[in-house]
Amino acid sequence: MNVIEIKNLTKYYGKARGIIDINFDVEEGEIFGFIGPNGAGKSTTIRTLLGLIYPTRGSAEIFGKDCIKYGPEIKKEIGYLPSEIFYYSKMKVIDLLKYSASFYKKDCGKKIHELAEIMDLDIHKRIDDLSLGNKKKVGIVQGLLHEPKLIILDEPTSGLDPLMQQKFFDLLKAENEKGATILFSSHILSEVQKLCNRVAIIKEGRIVKVEKISTLKENNYKKFKIETMLKIDKDYFNMKGVSDLEVKNNMVSFLFRGNINSIMKKISGIEIVNLWAEEPNLEEIFMHYYEKEA
C-alpha cells in the first residue's frame, strides 16, 4: 500500500516556478529520501502535501485520501519537522509540547518525557533561551509525540551535533520498525544514504530520478582531479566509464564509474603532480542524471 501518492503535482508562485509535474509514491513502512539542492522544490512539495499551500495543478493523496480535502483528518497521523524551527517564543518547552499534544485526542505525556530524555532536552526552559540545536530537539519531540504513522522531515539534521544526529537517526529507525513511514528531505546525500531505502532526486522543480539507494550505490561514481607534469592530449582519458571530462592546461577532471583498477592503470601511464579522488557531490550527480535524461 502507498502512504503517499503524488500525481502531476505542480505549484507556481505567480509566474515563479515552484514544482512541476512531481510524481512519486511512498510505500508503507519505507524510509523515503527526497534529495535536491536548495531551491529545488523539496519544501514546496512538502508544504503542499501538508496543505500549507495549494497546488496549481495535480493532486496528492496521503493514506489514500486527498491531502487538501481531508487535510485535518489525515494530519492526525502525520508528524512534521520543519527545516527551521519557529515556536511561540514566550512559551516554556513543556507548555509548547502540551499545547501541541492537545490537538491530538490521546495522552502523549509519557511519550513526551520519553523523547525528551532520549534527546537530552530540558523541558523547563523557555523557547527563547534555547540554542538552534536545542530548538531542533523540541521540533523532534514535537513531531513524534503523538506517535504518527507518517513522519515528514524537512532537512532535519541542521543544527544537530553528530552525536545527537546519531540518536535522532536511531529514534527514526525505531519508529520505522514500529511501522511508521518516513519521508526524509535533505540536501546531504550521505545522511540519506545512511537511512533511506529509496530516494527521489529533485532538480529545478522536477523529479530527475526515483531510485533505490542500493542501485545508486552500485552506480559508484568517483570524481577525479589530476594535476599533470606536462600538458596531455585532451582525449587521453576519454575511455569507457569516464564522463564530464574537462582538460584545462595541466588540470584534468572527470567522473569515473567502473573498475577502479582500469583508471588507476591509465593514470600511472602519465607523470602526475597531484591527485584528488573524491565522492562526487550531489550537484555533480544531478548533472550526470540530467545529461542521461537529455
Binding site: L52, P72, K76, F86, Y104
Partner: protein
C-alpha cells in the same frame, strides 16, 4: 478550545495595558472637568468664540461643556479612537502573527481546519473587545457620576457603549479581513490602523465642512457620533443596518480569503 485559550493567554498582557490606558484616559479627562467646572459659564463663552473648525477638530461641536455628560461626550470620541485602534490591531495581528512569527508551520500541520482556527481566534478577540468595552463602561459611569450632580447618565452611557462596541466590531473585522487578504503578513496591522486614521480624519473633516456631509457613509465613526447618540437621540436604524452588512462582509472575507491563502513561511 485550545487555540482559544492560547490566544487569551497570548493577549492577556496587552489587554491589561490597554485597559489601564483607557481607565487613565477617563480618570484624567474627567479630572480636568473638575478643574474647569469650578470656573462655570465662562468656559462655554470662551469656546463659543473659537472658530468652528477648531471646535470640530477638538470634537467639541454642540456639547455643553458645563455639564459632566456634555464634557464626557467630547472625551468619548477619544475613547472610541483608543478602543477601535485596539480592535483593529488585535484583529490584524491575531490572524497575521502565525505567518509573521513563522508559527504557521506549527499550527496548520495540526489536525485542525483553518476555519476552526479562525473561529477560535475571532472568539478570543471578541472576548478581548468585550472586556475593553465593559471596562470603559464601568470606569466612565463611576467617574462621570462623581461630577454629574445627580444627572441621570446611565441610559446615555449604555447607548454610547453599544455604539462603541459596534465600531470595535467593525474595526476588528477590518483588521482580520486585511490580514486574511494581504500578501504581506507584516503590513496587515499598519494597513488597518491606516484605514482607521483616514476614516477618523474624514469624520472630523465632515464636522468642519458641511458640504461634504454626504461622505458620512464612508466613515463608521459618523455612524455612532456621540452628539447624535446622547440626549435621547439613540441609534440610527440605517446606520445599524449598514454596520451589520459591513460586519457580515468583512467576516466572510476573513474566512473565505484565509481558507484560500497560500501560507507564507
Amino acid at each position: 478550545m485550545n487555540v482559544f485559550i492560547k490566544e487569551i493567554k497570548a493577549n492577556r498582557r496587552s489587554l491589561v495595558i490597554w485597559c489601564i490606558g483607557i481607565v487613565l484616559m477617563i480618570a484624567s479627562g474627567m479630572g480636568k472637568y473638575a478643574g474647569l467646572s469650578t470656573s462655570g459659564q465662562s468656559l462655554d463663552d470662551l469656546l463659543d468664540q473659537m472658530p468652528k473648525s477648531l471646535q470640530a477638530i477638538m470634537g467639541i461641536g454642540t456639547f455643553d461643556l458645563s455639564t459632566a455628560s456634555g464634557y464626557y461626550g467630547v472625551l468619548f470620541i477619544y475613547l472610541v479612537v483608543m478602543a477601535t485602534i485596539h480592535a483593529a490591531m488585535l484583529g490584524a495581528n491575531i490572524i497575521s502573527k502565525e505567518e509573521r512569527d513563522k508559527t504557521a508551520e506549527f499550527l496548520f500541520v495540526k489536525p485542525i481546519s483553518r476555519n476552526k482556527v479562525i473561529t477560535s481566534k475571532l472568539l478570543a478577540s471578541l472576548l478581548n473587545i468585550i472586556i475593553i468595552n465593559l471596562i470603559t463602561l464601568f470606569s466612565s459611569v463611576i467617574m462621570v457620576q462623581r461630577y454629574s450632580n445627580g444627572e441621570n447618565i446611565m441610559d446615555d452611557m449604555i447607548i454610547l457603549m453599544v455604539g462603541m462596541f459596534i465600531l470595535q466590531l467593525i474595526f476588528l473585522f477590518i483588521g482580520t479581513a486585511i490580514a486574511a487578504i494581504s500578501k504581506n503578513s507584516k503590513t496587515a496591522a499598519s494597513l488597518s490602523t491606516g484605514i482607521l486614521l483616514i476614516t477618523f480624519i474624514l469624520s472630523i473633516a465632515i464636522d468642519m465642512n458641511s458640504r461634504i456631509e454626504n461622505l458620512k457613509y464612508l466613515t463608521p465613526f459618523k455612524y455612532y457620533d456621540a452628539k447624535n447618540l446622547m440626549f435621547g437621540g439613540g441609534l440610527d436604524t440605517d446606520y445599524v443596518i449598514l454596520s451589520v452588512i459591513l460586519i457580515a462582509v468583512l467576516l466572510s472575507a476573513t474566512y473565505v480569503f484565509y481558507k484560500k491563502r497560500d501560507l507564507k513561511i
